[in-house]
């Protein structure tokens, strides 16, 4: 088990290296300039932007810039943002709690919707409940988050004036009103993300349960006279959830990516909106930092999925 873990982690190193090479090259080849704002201002001499480029090493050849970045990265120095001249690690750490809170809440919501609904629909396929649940799930994951986000804003902010649509991190006040304000502003982004994810997972859980429900051992369990509750919870769900766990774990990093749009719509100051701003400003060190975090997340969650798999299904062993 331990040697398996070490081997997997060692294997991750070259893939991260490969990812960083590709990212850096793509960014270097993409058009744009972090100081283009200065260049288009006629009252600032062009030499100012040129001097800044030289100082920040933007005029060096791509491979040289990459090795500088890599060397610093290996020392734990993530570099600093061209736009804000702040360390990239500080910027990311500032944003991480918000992202984790919003995404964590939405994933919980998604699981809380997907598992019960999916299981119930799977156990009673083609019943009225299943029909309704399946149709809603289809609608839910067909609608892109930017659309549902705007619809929610129109309904709850513009027309009903119930919820704010600008997410704020530091709000004055304390005690219950403050918590209520936090919850209120998080409702819409969490709903948008959670229901989108939940809809997709519902279909998956249902399909997985359907597969298991017809197996002989379920019939055996029923024949033994076990109560329906025990059959479902102990025998069906446990086996049906194995592929679901993999899916959830593997989708985690994608969710971080998908949250970018939602973060932009509701102005949630998470990692996603940091990435967008950095891309728009051609702020290479920040883009590298954030995408690198995403890459690490993918690898880590892959690993977690594999480990969970073994725990859920003891027939799988690590070699």
């Amino acid at each position: 088990m331990l040697s398996y873990l070490v081997r997997r982690l060692l294997l991750a190193a070259p893939s991260l290296l490969g990812i960083s090479v590709v990212l850096f090259t793509v960014l270097a080849l993409a058009p744009g300039d972090p100081f283009s704002d200065l260049a288009s201002d006629p009252s600032i001499p062009p030499s100012v932007a040129a001097a800044l480029r030289a100082k920040f090493g933007l005029d060096d050849p791509v491979y040289l810039r990459y090795f500088h970045w890599l060397a610093a990265m290996l020392h734990g120095d993530w570099g600093f943002s061209f736009a804000s001249r702040i360390d990239v690690s500080t910027l990311i750490l500032q944003r991480l709690p918000t992202t984790l809170a919003v995404i964590g809440a939405s994933q919980l919501l998604a699981l809380m919707v997907a598992v019960p609904v999916g299981v119930y629909a799977g156990v009673r396929p083609y019943s009225f409940f299943d029909q309704v649940a399946s149709s809603l799930a289809l609608v839910g994951f067909s609608l892109p988050t930017f659309f549902t986000g705007l619809v929610l804003i129109l309904v709850f902010s513009v027309n009903l004036h119930w919820l704010p649509f600008v997410y704020r991190t530091d709000m004055g006040g304390s005690g219950l009103p403050l918590y209520w304000a936090y919850i209120k502003q998080a409702i819409m982004p969490v709903l948008v993300l959670g229901l989108f994810q939940g809809a997709a997972w519902t279909r998956f859980v249902r399909a997985s349960v359907l597969d298991v429900v017809r197996l002989d051992y379920v019939t055996t369990a029923r024949a033994k006279g076990l109560s329906e509750r025990v059959v479902i919870l102990k025998h069906i769900v446990r086996n049906a959830l194995i592929p679901v766990v993999t899916l959830v774990a593997l989708q985690m990093p994608i969710v971080f990516g998908g949250a970018i749009i939602t973060e932009q719509i509701f102005r949630v100051p998470g990692i996603g909106s940091l990435l967008i701003t950095a891309i728009l400003a051609n702020d290479t060190p920040v883009i590298m930092g954030v995408t690198f975090v995403f890459a690490c997340l993918v690898i880590v969650f892959n690993l977690i999925a594999d480990l969970l798999y073994g725990w859920l299904d003891p027939r799988i062993s690590y070699r």
Binding site: P31, G32, D33, P34, F35, S36, D37, L38, A39, S40, D41, P42, S43, I44, P45, P46, S47, V48, A49, A50, A51, L52, K55, F56, F80, S81, A83, S84, R85, I86, L91, Q94, R95, I153, S157, V158, H161, P164, F165, V166, R168, T169, D170, G172, Q264, I265, R267, P269, S273, L274, T277, L280, A281, N282
Partner: protein, 597 residues
């Protein structure tokens, strides 16, 4: 009846700002004096006739709650000398102040200066070689240290040191600043400088404290802790900053202007897009003020119907214009197209240029595309009014254009496209990808087709078009097409820097990595001579006349075709009272902002 001593006392109160000018005038009127006479009394007592003075009713500082600003691109740093875009200048301006700011009409208003320097007061050299700034006494930094001339001198040293990598270096590198006494500095220029109000003024003039940045001048400028937690002289004290997301401040109880600021706290939220920012102010009222409303006017009008706020439009120096290439974009000379060594096959013909000028339907562009956010104009310099030409006009007339082309020998061929000596009038018309611009291209293209000119439309992503990427052929500075269109901005209320873009020495070329500003590669020796004369002209009236003449030369020769000038647009809550200047930061007048209770 009021006696002379009391009267002088009141005038003094107006001068020091304890009493508003308006309340003084009202009181005098009650006493039976006419308003102009009372105003005259103030003028003779040394109070400048503040142009368009804004009323400021609050009688004490604070009590206004939180002022919530929405910037759809949030500030990413709070050191004004590192500011890359206006968003950073705006964020810094909450805490830092310049010696003087620009009002909406392009006049200087003292902030940290005791008065605006002038030749009359002997604080501006009559040969324009130096200017003396006197600081307002009693101003304190947020940490209680007094502001002195040393701070100003330090700002010059800090910004002009290339190792600091300040973006303001352009305003400070060619001047010399010295301390005269604790509250006086002298700025010396290398040559006569008619526009002396650049360093220490407005967005590039914000002063940072010497005692906190002294250790961090030069290569280690990035490490200064104060970069992230500003200590300035402004109306609000620093509370919190998250780059790109949020800036928070609270009332500065020791602010140097009486009864100000009105708000107890300020919050500048960043992120999102312009349309939803407009929505948050105009429709839901979640925010009090949103910046830079690049939103179609029709949509703005609909949102205004929400009744929570209104759109405020104010003039600045932005002009959307069409450029005609003087060089040949299709001929390659030494690895460079649009080389100054070539001549455009037909755009150098005055008749063709005039025809293009007649084919741009500016009135329709204003009416159908920009609405209130773009006014049709014949001039390249549209503001401030003292630099605006009255001798120019524009018209849209396809018949006249056809006639001109006929007379010049450009006859329609079999395909309906005019040609002469085997050269057809076919142009490539490029601009950035942006919905209003594509509509504008369409309007011009249709008119040109009617007149027998073929137009091929090209739209380049803005991130490519406006980049300074030397390797990319589609940047606006390379101008590898026949005509192109974009907005350029005169950032200061003076055309001195702005009109450099027509000088022969500024021609963009491979040699200067296309950093030259004469993108149209226009060459006119008379223009150059006039421009260089203006650099030494000390009489402001004559100098303004010269710039008007330069504008007219550019327009008469159809070097460029101005389409619409684009004022700045902000969304303002209906309770909030603000004065916005197109020549300064959106919040350049923040200390005077107040709201109805």
């Amino acid at each position: 009846m009021i006696d002379e001593r009391q009267l002088r006392q009141r005038i003094e109160q107006v001068r020091t700002g304890e009493r508003s000018r308006r309340s003084f005038l009202r009181e005098m009127m009650v006493l039976g004096l006419s308003a102009p006479f009372a105003a005259q009394m103030l003028a003779h007592s040394g109070v400048a006739m503040a142009a368009g003075e804004v009323p400021y009713p609050p009688t004490k500082a604070g009590g206004g709650g939180t002022l919530k600003l929405l910037w759809w691109q949030g500030p990413t740093l709070l050191n004004p000398h590192f500011a890359v875009g206006t968003k950073d200048q705006d964020g810094s301006r909450i805490f830092y102040e310049p010696l003087a700011a620009w009002d909406p009409d392009g006049n200087l208003v003292p902030i940290l200066a005791a008065e605006v320097p002038s030749v009359e007061a002997g604080t501006v050299d009559k040969d324009l070689m130096w200017v003396v700034w006197k600081l307002k006494p009693g101003v304190k930094w947020h940490d209680g240290t007094p502001l002195t001339a040393d701070d100003c001198v330090f700002n010059w040293q800090y910004a002009s040191d290339p190792a600091t990598a300040a973006t303001t270096i352009g305003s400070y590198k060619d001047i010399k600043v010295s301390k005269v006494d604790d509250l006086t500095i002298k700025v010396e220029f290398q040559k006569a400088t008619p526009f002396w109000a650049d360093a220490f003024v407005s967005v590039r003039g914000m002063i940072i404290p010497k005692h906190l940045f002294d250790q961090y001048k030069g290569a280690n400028s990035r490490e200064a802790p104060t970069n992230l937690s500003p200590v300035g002289t402004g109306p609000y004290l620093y509370v919190d900053f998250k780059p790109g997301d949020l800036v928070r401040g609270k009332l500065n109880p020791n602010y140097h202007m009486p009864n100000r600021p009105y708000f107890d706290a300020i919050e500048m939220k960043g992120g999102g897009d312009a349309v939803s920012a407009a929505r948050a102010v105009l429709q839901t009222g979640e925010y009090d003020f949103a910046w830079n409303m690049q939103v179609e006017d029709e949509l703005l009008k609909r949102l205004e119907d929400g009744g929570k706020g209104h759109v405020q439009i104010f003039d600045g120096g932005s002009i959307e214009h069409i450029q005609l290439n003087n060089t040949d974009p299709n001929k390659d000379v030494d690895g460079e197209r649009s080389s100054i060594k070539t001549k455009h096959p037909f755009l150098t013909d005055p008749a063709v240029r005039q025809a293009f000028n007649l084919l741009v339907d500016k009135a329709s562009v204003e009416k159908f595309i920009y609405g209130r956010t773009g006014k049709a104009t014949a001039n390249f310099v549209n503001n401030p009014p003292r630099f605006t030409s009255k001798d120019t006009s524009f018209e849209f007339n396809v018949e006249k254009a056809k006639d001109l082309l006929d007379k010049a020998g450009w006859k329609p061929g079999g395909d309906g496209i005019r040609a002469k000596d085997g050269i057809s009038l076919k142009v490539v018309y490029q601009t950035s990808i942006n919905a209003p611009r594509q509509k504008n291209q369409e309007i011009v293209k249709q008119a040109c087709q009617k007149a027998g000119i073929a137009v091929e439309i090209k739209a380049v992503p803005a991130s490519v078009y406006f980049s300074s990427d030397v390797g990319n052929p589609d940047t606006y500075t390379k101008f590898y097409t026949d005509i192109q269109m974009y907005t350029t901005t005169m950032n200061q209320p003076d055309p001195g820097d702005f009109m450099r873009q027509f000088l022969i020495s500024e021609v963009a070329s491979k040699d200067n990595k296309w950093q030259g500003r004469n993108i149209i590669r226009w060459q006119n020796a008379d223009y150059d001579a006039l421009y260089h004369a203006s650099e030494h002209e000390t009489d402001p009236v004559k100098r303004a006349a010269m710039f008007i003449q330069m504008n007219d030369m550019v327009i008469k020769d159809v070097a460029v075709i101005p389409v619409v000038y684009r004022p700045s647009v902000a969304a303002v809550s209906s309770k909030l009272h603000v004065r916005l200047s197109g020549w300064d930061s959106y919040i350049g007048d923040l200390h005077n902002w107040y709201a109805d209770a």
